[in-house]
């Protein structure tokens, strides 16, 4: 009787050990599979590349906001929305390095085009604020401040972004009378929408999008990816 109970206990113990072993194998498999998916996602290129037909002169020199020297061998065209999280991330995390090491050294220049998406209710306000700062030659300072403060003035945070824009303008010591009038009149709204129309014509499908040497890169590249694109465009560019 006792030995029968002992055998049963042994069988139960073995069954339990076997089921635990299977469970640990399953748990290990989930961990490995999950980690593999994360690694795949992390190593996937962050930009999708398509070729775009952009013959010289198709975008007038007067359009967009330029950063860097107009005589730089490579010109980068950026389409961005001030309220787009990816644009804000690129602008605050990657762009400072890109400016310092690529645009400020004359390797390339940038032209920024507004591409306000309708899903972002406050983006046109931001684009207007930046355009009015451009009248006082402070577009890039305003651009940086707007992107840096995105979490405060974006649609999910406020329905009154104007006061944030005014506070940024004050921080930048703009002539507030001029800036406010321009901002209230939406003096540059037509140009902003014109910038967007340019993007639609080029089939820009997401923000940010960069056009470098006739190739459209949708998404925010890392510094290394961006530098590699500029290097390859420099090699292909005609010598000036």
């Amino acid at each position: 009787m006792d030995s029968g109970r002992g055998r049963r206990a042994n069988v139960v113990k073995q069954q339990r050990q076997s089921s635990m072993r299977n469970f640990y194998i399953l748990l290990g498999a989930v961990a490995v599979l999950g980690s593999a998916l994360l690694v795949y996602n992390g190593s996937r290129p962050k930009v999708q590349v398509t070729t775009v037909d952009l013959p010289p002169g198709s975008i007038s020199d007067a359009e967009g906001y330029r950063y860097g020297s107009a005589s730089a061998p490579v010109e980068v065209i950026e389409f961005a929305d001030f309220e787009c999280p990816g644009c804000a991330q690129w602008s605050t995390v990657v762009e400072p390095d890109v400016r310092k090491r690529i645009f400020d050294t004359g390797k390339a220049s940038l032209r920024f085009f507004d591409f306000p998406l309708e899903m972002h209710r406050n983006t046109l306000t931001a684009a207007n604020a930046a355009a009015c700062a451009a009248d006082q030659n402070k577009f890039w300072e305003m651009h940086d401040r707007i992107f840096f403060g995105r979490a405060d003035w974006a649609t999910e945070s406020t329905s009154r972004p104007d006061k944030f824009m005014a506070s940024y303008a004050r921080e930048l010591s703009l002539d507030m009378g001029r800036w406010q009038k321009c901002f209230d009149d939406r003096a540059h709204q037509a140009r902003i929408l014109g910038n967007k129309a340019q993007g639609i014509k080029l089939k820009v499908g997401q923000t940010p999008t960069f056009i470098i040497a006739g190739r459209m890169h949708a998404g925010g590249p890392s510094y290394d990816e961006f530098a590699a694109l500029i290097d390859s465009a420099t090699k292909a560019a005609p010598k000036r």
Partner: protein, 152 residues
């Protein structure tokens, strides 16, 4: 076992969102909703750390506790069951608050955050059921089970 498996899944989801938040992953796979809007909003940070990182910590603790609870020595341990229920309960309340923010304040849904909310809610339900069965099977509640547990 179910709690451990769910905790591991939750940990992977939270790790994914944390990697996005710190810039390792450039873009979230998000076929439903607006994951990036939610994960770059001001509510994606809590006490100076990404909300997803807090989630990772919670899931890691839940995973470790549930694995400890599976060891023969802690089989039917009430303190482990109470700790699991407490942490999962707090996590569920926090997730409910975040889901409210998504719906009522941010006006955007992050499918990965909802997945995490479902996972933590399920862990809480399973933990409550487990705690009830552990409490019902306590040695002082049933002398026969007390014998059985000591023989294990």
């Amino acid at each position: 076992m179910m709690v451990a498996t769910l905790s591991l899944l939750g940990l992977l989801v939270a790790l994914y969102l944390t990697l996005f938040k710190i810039g390792v992953i450039g873009e979230l796979t998000c076929r439903i909703g607006s994951c990036e809007t939610v994960n770059t909003s001001r509510w994606s940070m809590f006490l100076g750390l990404p909300v997803a990182a807090w989630g990772m910590a919670a899931y890691l603790v839940l995973l470790m506790l549930s694995l400890i609870g599976l060891q023969p020595r802690f089989d039917g341990s009430r303190p482990v069951a109470v700790a699991l229920t407490g942490i999962a309960g707090a996590g569920t309340l926090f997730s409910a608050w975040l889901t409210y923010l998504e719906l009522a304040v941010i006006h955007a849904i992050c499918i990965w955050c909802v997945t995490s909310a479902v996972i933590i809610g399920t862990i809480f339900l399973v933990s409550v059921l487990d705690l009830r069965s552990v409490t019902a099977a306590r040695p002082d509640a049933d002398p026969e089970l007390a014998d059985a547990s000591t023989s294990n």
